[in-house]
């Protein structure tokens, strides 16, 4: 059984992720938010649906938070490090600390 403060913290974290997703719209109009709010309110007294510890709504909410957070982080990391097409030979050599030899120029010799 989780404490009320932990549940409130979980709700706030979920709200943060939903705000990030629906940044252009009012969050109170979002059906997902309304559903989430209803769920949290319904299980205010006991989060254990059917009075079984295993059917813990908080656990589901926690898993959903994990999904939203990790999807965001995964996207951010991919954007930061993702390839932008093929590198030139010179750039590839630079990565491993090498330099290309000077190419032969007939006008300069």
């Amino acid at each position: 059984m989780t404490s009320p403060t932990a549940t409130a913290q979980l709700f706030r974290s979920l709200l943060k992720e939903l705000r990030f997703i629906n940044s252009k719209r009012n969050i109170t109009e979002c059906p997902t938010y309304q559903f989430m709010l209803e769920q949290f309110k319904n299980h205010k007294v006991t989060s254990e649906k059917y009075c079984q510890g295993k059917h813990d709504v908080v656990h589901v909410a926690d898993t959903y938070l994990c999904l939203l957070e990790s999807t965001r982080k995964h996207q951010e990391l991919t954007e930061m490090y993702g390839g932008k097409g093929e590198r030139s030979i010179e750039a590839s050599a630079n990565i491993v600390g090498l330099k290309l030899p000077k190419t032969y120029d007939p006008n300069n010799s």
């Binding site: 997902t32 559903f35 059917h55 589901v60 994990c66 999904l67 990391l77």
Partner: protein, 279 residues
């Protein structure tokens, strides 16, 4: 790009000795080009006890052209949120819940319930938790401390016999263990089994997936336990953000999606039973 693809396609067709007309009915429609965001808002509607997704005024469909529908409101809302999450380009590879629903609806590889359970059970004999190292010593100790409680939990929860090994050959799993696990897995609906297989394949451990679905451990713990050796090596040799962290986050999303998919599609079992796999 188009020309070599066409050549490849015709080569495959001639190799398989199938005519065009035969091929079209079984080939899955898949367009590899990126999809621009063509809608503003994804919403859900309810019809005959199922929940559908609307992208503006259009109904969302599966890759095989069926109407996309799910048995649970929470699942439908989560899928709609996935579609609302997209900016400019729809990145379908981040939408794990949508893909899982698509797989369950279309069943593109024609898997029956028995096939799904057999594939998942196949992981039991080579379960990550059962393969132990003897050296380095601190890693062996870490594996013992972290994995033994989960194995012990599984033994008690399912009344099964499962032993760990330090050898190369898979440990002997008695047939009674298989039978008990098979019966347990078959108690889930068709949809949940797709989630089970997906989660097991990603965690590379059936027992960890069972622990997640039974809410014994949370997703992050399961991922940490699954990547225990890699975690140990990164703390020793250094962590590379663009590989290890990316890997962790991706595994989190996949396992969390599989777990949620199972929770939500098992919640209203009376509807699930009607979802017969069509051939």
């Amino acid at each position: 790009m188009a020309a070599p693809m066409r050549i490849y396609h015709s080569a495959v067709k001639s190799f398989l000795n199938v005519s065009n007309s035969h091929c079209t009915c079984s080939v899955r429609r898949f367009n590899p080009r990126e999809l621009k965001k063509f809608y503003k808002n994804a919403t859900i509607t309810q019809t005959n006890g199922w929940f559908e997704i609307n992208l503006d005024q259009k109904k969302l469909k599966t890759p095989n052209g069926k109407v996309f529908k799910v048995p649970n409101e929470a699942l439908a809302l989560a899928v709609a949120t996935e579609w609302n999450m997209q900016h400019k380009i729809v990145k379908r590879h981040y939408m794990h819940l949508t893909s899982l629903c698509n797989t369950a609806l279309d069943n593109p590889t024609y898997k029956s319930r028995e096939d799904l359970v057999r594939s998942a059970l196949h992981y039991a004999e080579t379960d990550t938790l059962c393969y132990r190292l003897e050296e380095p010593e601190d890693l062996a100790k870490l594996e013992k401390v972290c994995w033994d409680p989960i194995l012990e939990w599984a033994r008690k929860r399912y009344d099964i016999e499962i032993e760990s090994t330090t050898g190369l050959l898979p440990p002997e799993v008695p047939s009674s263990t298989y039978n008990k696990l098979r019966r347990h897995l078959l108690s889930y609906g068709d949809w949940a089994l797709f989630g089970f297989l997906y989660g097991t394949e990603n965690l590379k451990s059936l027992i960890l997936m069972l622990a997640v679905v039974d809410k014994h451990i949370d997703v992050k713990t399961a991922v940490t336990l699954s990547r225990l050796e890699q975690n140990y090596q990164t703390t020793k040799w250094g962590n590379v953000e663009w590989y290890h962290d990316l890997d962790i986050e991706e595994l989190h999303t996949r396992v969390a999606a599989a777990a949620l998919f199972i929770y939500w599609s098992s919640e209203s079992s009376s509807i699930i039973e009607k979802a017969v796999i069509e051939f």
